[in-house]
């Protein structure tokens, strides 16, 4: 009776193919991750001689060939927070409309399509738009305002998408219960839907921050500048109608435009930018994991 469960040649072939497929797909996944790990390690090793507290708070010296990145760091913080102040309310309200008010008709399908397209517009086209609309038409000039508004429109889809996801994860029965005791649509949203989705919305906002901090093309022609003289360690060096330096732009400048830069300087700038973006993203992920473990329904 033993032969009943013995492998036939066909089963053996099947099993071999199975493990081959598993191995190939596993290697493909690893091939995607391995270069990342190798590259990040390489960047950190190259940047090590320069990375220090002094590098963060010092200003660029000797025509940006030495020194630190303080003005660029502060400029990026300016741009990120002003764009956040515009994009967060707009995006959250838009997501509330799409998720809570909109019915499935042609008009709202167009809105959906517009959100998808807004996410797909190349960053350099956003830059052209910012230049045409904010710098020239609205007469804001090359300024922090123009650059932040351009960034805000560019990152709007990030907030809309993740807020919608957060709102959609609140069970429909919660809303129905609230409507049944006589609450209006807005009262339901305010007292039931938003409190139950606030962490998800926060995740979206954090992702917007990381996206805005890393973008270069949209701010290149609307408000970011190669160099601006700023005192070492000043907390609020820029006015909103001035141009500013930005970390991403600074990395582009010192790695392509300035000859004779000390070798580890661009590596250190890249590591700071990469580290900041990954840290922000990691915190969004951590928030989501905590949220998921706490979910009651």
């Amino acid at each position: 009776m033993d032969t009943m469960f013995a492998e036939t040649p066909l089963v053996r072939v099947k099993r071999r193919r199975e493990s081959l497929a598993r191995g190939v797909f596993f290697c493909m996944s690893v091939a995607m991750i391995l270069p990342l790990v190798a590259i990040v390690t390489y960047l950190v090793v190259k940047a090590w001689p320069t990375l220090s507290w002094n590098f963060l708070v010092d200003i660029p010296r000797e025509g940006m060939r030495e020194g630190g990145i303080w003005p660029a760091l502060v400029g990026t913080i300016y741009l990120v927070f002003i764009s956040l102040a515009v994009a967060a309310p707009l995006g959250i309200l838009a997501a509330i409309y799409l998720s809570e008010y909109a019915r499935d008709n042609w008009f709202n399908r167009i809105i959906n399509l517009a959100v998808i397209n807004l996410a797909g517009v190349p960053s350099i086209v956003h830059a052209l738009f910012g230049l045409g609309a904010f710098v020239y038409a609205a007469k804001f000039g090359y300024s922090i305002i123009s650059a932040s508004l351009t960034l805000a429109i560019m990152t709007l889809p990030v907030i809309i998408a993740s807020t919608r996801e957060a709102l959609a994860s609140v069970p429909q029965s919660f809303r129905e219960a609230c409507w049944n005791v006589g609450a209006t649509r807005w009262q339901t949203i305010r007292s039931i839907v938003l409190p139950n989705s606030v962490s998800g919305i926060l995740t979206g906002v954090i992702l917007q921050v990381s996206r805005a901090a890393g973008e270069t093309a949209p701010i290149m022609f609307t408000g970011a500048v190669f160099y601006k003289a700023v005192e070492r360690g000043t907390l609020l060096p820029y006015y909103l109608d001035e141009q500013c330096m930005a970390l991403s732009m600074h990395l582009y400048t010192i790695s392509t435009q300035v000859p004779g830069v000390e070798e580890s300087l661009p590596y250190a700038t890249a590591v700071v930018l990469l580290g900041a973006v990954l840290l922000v993203n990691a915190s969004a992920i951590a928030l989501r994991v905590v949220l998921r473990s706490r979910k009651k329904w």
Partner: protein, 311 residues
């Protein structure tokens, strides 16, 4: 007969909201509606403002749209022989994108299949987090990696005279678009009902047979959409190709030629073109061209995804 007086009813007191609360709510809903349509307004505004800057050049003498689209002569600053032909740039954009997709599509779809079908829940969580972090790396950092690490590797391994070329840009773009392909492809595979898997396994199929015979045909639209979104990202990418592909405006003959793309061309020349000049307006026209290309790609991806939902 005396009539009994009708007993007076106590007036019903219903709690009422103050008129201000009602009006406030009406106003707030109006604002929400307005924000809802803002995305449409922004897309229209982007097209309008970019086109408005480009428009005057269309009627200019010596400028023809066919030359703009199909001539490969790009001499914007020449004193005597000014030509605005973007064909070489378009070919540059598409060759970099095609090379990136040749590398990224098999790896992206393979990783999506692994994440969705072959690995355990713990490993899946880890891989998804890594993919998300990979997608978050700013394009200027990718460009910097192309300029330094990748170009050195290419020079060492192939003996090419310069490391910033089509191959470099393609590799960088592939690394950048893999995360999108993986995450959307994984969504598409997850959307296939579990009953399909159960039916396949009940018939004695191995996982690989299940993937090959059941899941890939069932999820093919979603996977196609994933590839299209990857293409959209690669065509529109600016900083990475600006830094990694070199700067020669010509039609590439091999993967070690340097090329320039539509996006990189705008980024490289907009700073030098005086506002209002023909050169400046032609760059905006290139923007309109790019906007149209990505619009079509995204629209197709959306239609493909919508096709799945309807089923």
């Amino acid at each position: 007969m005396d009539t009994q007086p009708i007993p007076e009813r106590a007036p019903v007191v219903r709690p009422r909201r103050s008129p201000w609360a009602v009006r406030g709510e009406w106003l707030l809903e109006l604002i929400i509606r307005f924000c809802g349509i803002s995305a449409v307004l922004f897309v229209l505004a982007i097209f309008f403002f970019v086109f408005r800057e480009a428009f005057p050049v269309l009627g200019r003498e010596g400028f023809s749209l066919t030359q703009f689209l199909f001539s490969s002569e790009w001499y914007p600053t020449s004193a005597t022989h000014v030509r605005y032909g973007t064909w070489a740039l378009t070919v540059g954009s598409f060759s970099v994108t095609a090379l990136a997709m040749i590398i990224a599509v098999p790896f992206g779809l393979g990783a999506a299949i692994f994440v969705s079908e072959f690995c355990g829940p713990r490993l899946r969580e880890v891989l998804k987090i890594v993919i998300e972090l990979l997608a978050a790396i700013p394009s200027v950092v990718w460009g910097f990696i192309g300029l330094t690490v990748m170009s050195k590797l290419i020079v060492d391994l192939t003996g090419a005279p310069v490391g910033v070329n089509l191959l470099n840009g393609g590799l960088i773009l592939a690394l950048m678009s893999v995360p999108i392909i993986v995450s959307i492809g994984e969504d598409a595979l997850k959307a296939v009902p579990d009953s399909y898997r159960e039916a396949g396994l009940a018939l004695g199929a191995t996982r690989w047979q299940l993937v090959y015979r059941v899941l890939l045909p069932a999820a093919k639209n979603g996977l196609l959409a994933a590839v299209l979104l990857g293409v959209g990202r690669a065509v529109g990418e600016t900083m990475a190709v600006l830094m990694a592909t070199g700067h020669a405006v010509h039609i590439p003959l091999g993967v070690l030629d340097s090329v320039r793309t539509l996006t990189a061309n705008i980024a490289a020349e907009l700073g030098e073109a005086p506002a209002g000049s023909d050169h400046y307006r032609v760059l905006f026209l290139t923007g309109v061209l790019l906007f149209s290309i990505t619009f079509v790609v995204n629209l197709t991806a959306d239609l493909v995804i919508r096709g799945i939902r309807r089923k």
